[in-house]
């Protein structure tokens, strides 16, 4: 679709909360009006979000990326609740890149930080309510009655006299009206859709092969390409003899970029064969000798450096000095690749004054801006078509592949779909950062935590991605989840030392929380042991003032029958972590036999505040657990000669169905607004697993993955 908003963009973002009325909430509308008809079918736009066709079908614009989190169902639920429409008439369309669709929390059109539901919880209910009011007014005007006499009921406006009209017949007139400046939102007690498990709208096209991912884009006259970047990070292309590739049947062109070479053909296979036939000469640059041992040494050096203060309260050194016992430990975590099932890809079509991109992207807004800049176009001359994403996990926030596709298509003079081989995907990621931490805490004679003093050393994501989000030398994504810990004693200090190690790092599902949860929850378990206390009871005592956290911890423990001994040969570990506005506790049950470690079961309790689509929340916990468990058991990217040593799923191992534990999920609602859900399931699983291994073996895992700690996985 190609509509752009006609007006009103500058007036958005004004959020006024007015007086409560009739049990609902009067709230200022922050929606840009987006008027006019679509070219086909005579459908009308009511606000930027809702399009109604003459046949009564309602299309909801989706500003976010659908990467599996179910957002193409949850966001329409918000609209439909207020619009009073038959759910079976709801369809969706991915919104174009346009400031109208910026995420109100992040202030950009991106999908990340488990923010979609939190950001659009109010605006999309307003959109539904505004469209409903416009339909009521249109009906009232048509009938010559007062709007107050007209009710919206299941996709129709019904007058007190009994006459009624479907939305489809009213939409054209409604779209000509001014968007109301305030609308009343239903009280929670009147909800019919929100809070009830609703089948995903994207399931049917995902079981018959018709869902269109980036990889599936086909344009007339399009070439398909694949690319090899310099295998060493930061290296450049020196020279390449193109002839061997051009000799391959179906190869059409070899394109040289500053740091990569691409081969284009009439399909992926000729392009791939052509690329394999090339022997590019690389200028490997400064990182040619970089290896994992060196990176470890650089991180260890950080412990001798004064860091930036990420959190300080009370006087941690003094309180530690008074402690009966000091516990100290060093924890370390590796780089991780995202390995989305759909390898990186993008399709670009460029003309003199226009560029169209089809991509599985989490960053439509930034993509539009950056592509416009490199092509010398205005942002509105760049159209971004978002496809379904075959996994995102933060990887598809990056613009690297889109920009390659643009540069390659520009040189080729034809539309190009650029597809990365899996090996390129694993070896040219923006990795979950390596990190190391020195954790020190004191216990008094009764085993109570007196103070803690942590130092975290890691490369920074934000210095590259969003430098403005750095805070006094601290990258918040390196320390999130360690600062503001629910377990924290009054006297505490957390320092951060930034060490750039020459490997690109980026957002990976739950970002810093996948790291800090392992530190904090592993160390809490150590403190419980040092205090001679049972780990669950120890945590409960630390959470005495945190009722929501305690309730979540208790629920997970109850689900796992924590107070009863497990089956013979089975052992349990527990962990809790708050992230993205939600609190999750997980209990893992394992056994370790001759054939290796087996994870039998995971019990997960989640307080995500208000639950919008409960079955999606369950699915995201299941998925977050499998993602984190895969990393905890097997995940590690290592560097040698400036290159990533792993290449494909044979060397970067994945959990499969046979190893997947039973997973039970229980939802607690501890708040009246929704928390994030795409990421919070991941952080607790690694430490819960490590704590179970300690229970089983007495061996404390202070690094991951498990397989690098002398423990085989069955």
């Amino acid at each position: 679709m190609t509509r752009t908003p006609q007006s009103g963009l500058s007036r958005r973002h004004v959020l006024e909360i007015g007086a409560a009325a009739a049990g609902g909430l009067m709230i200022g509308v922050i929606l840009p009006p987006m008027r006019g008809r679509a070219a086909n079918g005579g459908a009308s736009m009511l606000t930027a979000w809702v399009r109604i066709a003459p046949d009564d079908t309602v299309t909801i614009m989706i500003p976010s990326a659908e990467m599996g989190q179910g957002i193409t169902t949850s966001l329409p639920m918000l609209v439909a609740e207020e619009l009073e429409v038959d759910w079976r008439n709801i369809g969706v369309e991915f919104a174009p890149a346009n400031p109208a669709y910026a995420n109100p929390i992040v202030k950009m059109q991106v999908t990340g930080g488990s923010t979609s539901i939190r950001a659009f919880f109010v605006p999309l209910r307003q959109a539904g309510a505004a469209a409903r009011e416009m339909l009521r007014q249109a009906a009232a005007a048509k009938w010559g009655v007062r709007p107050a006499e007209c009710n919206a009921v299941n996709g129709r406006i019904v007058h007190a006299s009994g006459k009624s009209e479907g939305y489809g017949a009213l939409a054209d007139a409604a779209a000509q009206l001014t968007v109301p400046t305030s609308v009343e939102l239903k009280p929670r007690s009147a909800w019919r859709i929100l809070g009830k498990s609703t089948a995903r709208l994207d399931t049917p096209p995902k079981v018959d092969g018709s869902a269109r991912f980036g990889l599936d884009v086909r344009l007339p006259d399009m070439l398909v390409g694949t690319i090899a970047a310099c295998p060493v990070f930061g290296g450049k292309l020196k020279a390449v003899d193109e002839k061997p590739a051009l000799a391959v049947k179906g190869v059409k062109a070899v394109i040289k970029l500053a740091d990569a070479v691409a081969v284009l053909g009439d399909g992926y296979w000729p392009a791939k064969k052509g690329l394999m036939a090339l022997a590019p000469q690389w200028d490997e640059g400064d990182n040619a000798r970089l290896d994992s041992e060196h990176i470890s040494a650089v991180l260890q050096d950080g412990f001798g450096t004064d860091g930036a203060v990420a959190e300080t309260h009370g006087d941690a050194p003094a309180a530690l000095g008074r402690s009966a016992k000091i516990v100290e430990a060093i924890y370390t975590l590796p780089f991780l690749a995202h390995a989305t099932m759909e390898p990186m890809n993008a399709t670009a079509k460029i003309s003199a004054d226009r560029c169209e991109i089809w991509a599985p992207t989490q960053a439509q807004g930034p993509a539009q801006q950056v592509v416009a800049k490199i092509l010398g176009l205005k942002p509105e001359q760049v159209e971004i078509h978002t496809t379904y994403l075959g996994g995102g996990f933060g990887r598809k926030f990056e613009l690297d592949c889109i920009l390659q596709a643009v540069m390659v298509a520009k040189q080729a003079g034809k539309p190009v779909k650029l597809i990365w081989a899996r090996e390129e995907d694993i070896q040219h990621d923006f990795y979950r950062p390596v990190s190391t931490a020195r954790l020190r805490a004191g216990l008094d004679a009764a085993g109570k935590v007196t103070a803690w003093d942590f130092k975290i050393v890691a490369p920074s994501i934000l210095t590259r991605v969003f430098p403005a989000w750095m805070k006094d030398g601290v990258d918040p994504t390196s320390v999130e989840g360690a600062v503001e810990s629910p377990y924290a004693p009054a006297d505490r200090r957390i320092e951060y030392v930034l060490k750039d190690v020459g490997v690109p790092v980026g957002f990976w599902r739950s970002v810093g929380n996948s790291i800090t949860s392992f530190y904090v929850e592993g160390f809490i378990d150590e403190l419980a042991h040092a205090a001679g206390q049972e780990p669950y009871a120890f945590r409960r005592s630390l959470l005495a003032e945190k009722p929501r956290h305690r309730a979540v911890l208790n629920r997970a423990a109850e689900m796992a029958n924590w107070t009863m001994p497990p089956a013979s040969g089975h052992f349990r570990g527990i962990a809790l972590h708050e992230s993205f506005g939600s609190i999750v506790a997980e209990v893992v049950e394992i056994s370790i036999a001759r054939e290796g470690l087996r994870v039998h079961r995971v019990d997960c309790a989640v307080d995500c505040g208000l639950a919008i689509n409960p079955d999606t929340i369950v699915a995201q916990m299941e998925g977050g657990i499998v993602y984190g468990l895969t990393a905890a058991l097997y995940g590690e990217i290592t560097i040698k000669g400036g290159r990533v040593e792993q290449a494909n799923f044979d060397s970067y191992r994945m959990l499969q169905l046979a190893q997947t534990p039973k997973i039970a999920v229980s939802i607690l609602e501890g708040d009246d607004k929704p928390g994030g859900i795409g990421e919070p399931g991941t952080p607790p699983i690694g430490p819960a697993l490590a704590n179970a291994i300690f229970a089983a073996t007495g061996k404390r895992l202070r690094s991951l993955p498990v397989v690098r700690n002398g423990i085989d996985v069955a």
Binding site: G209, K273, F393, N648, Q656, L657
Partner: protein
């Protein structure tokens, strides 16, 4: 050279190199994009199709090895999602991102054709496809559901 292949009951004449994987013939030559590319080394199963009813990883199956075998893709499993595996998948809301699901469904359909009531152990052995969204437990539940449809 030209190869004659039969996909979802329809014969096609394909002019590609003999080493071209069936996956790319389906996707790039025939425009049937339901079958996915995940790894290129038969490790992930996103490219699973049926060759004479057997679940086959099409990314390492060269076109010159297919011969007159009947190839079935996700597009050919049913015309209206009425296959019992698809029905079970919908009932359990299995997919998340959905990218691996064509291959998962084809692997499950082949398993059920051979073993109509598979045990958990038989499911473990047959279902070696990779899903990064972690839909594995729903896949298992949906296979058990399909077995009784």
């Amino acid at each position: 050279m030209a190869y004659e292949i039969k996909v979802n009951g329809i014969n096609h004449s394909i002019d590609v190199d003999g080493d071209t994987p069936l996956l790319w013939v389906l996707r790039d030559t025939l425009g049937m994009t339901g079958t996915k590319f995940g790894c290129g080394i038969a490790a992930c199963g996103a490219c699973t199709v049926h060759v004479d009813g057997v679940a086959t990883r099409s990314c390492v199956t060269s076109i010159d090895s297919v011969g007159g075998s009947a190839v079935t893709t996700i597009e050919g499993l049913s015309s209206d999602r009425s296959n019992k595996v698809q029905q079970a998948w919908i009932a359990e809301d299995v997919p998340q991102c959905g990218y691996c699901q064509s291959g998962m469904i084809m692997a499950a359909a082949a398993l059920l054709a051979k073993t109509p009531k598979p045990t958990d152990a038989e499911i473990d052995e047959a279902m070696t496809n990779i899903c990064r969204c972690g839909t594995y437990n729903r896949v298992r539940t949906a296979i058990h559901r399909a077995a009784v449809l």
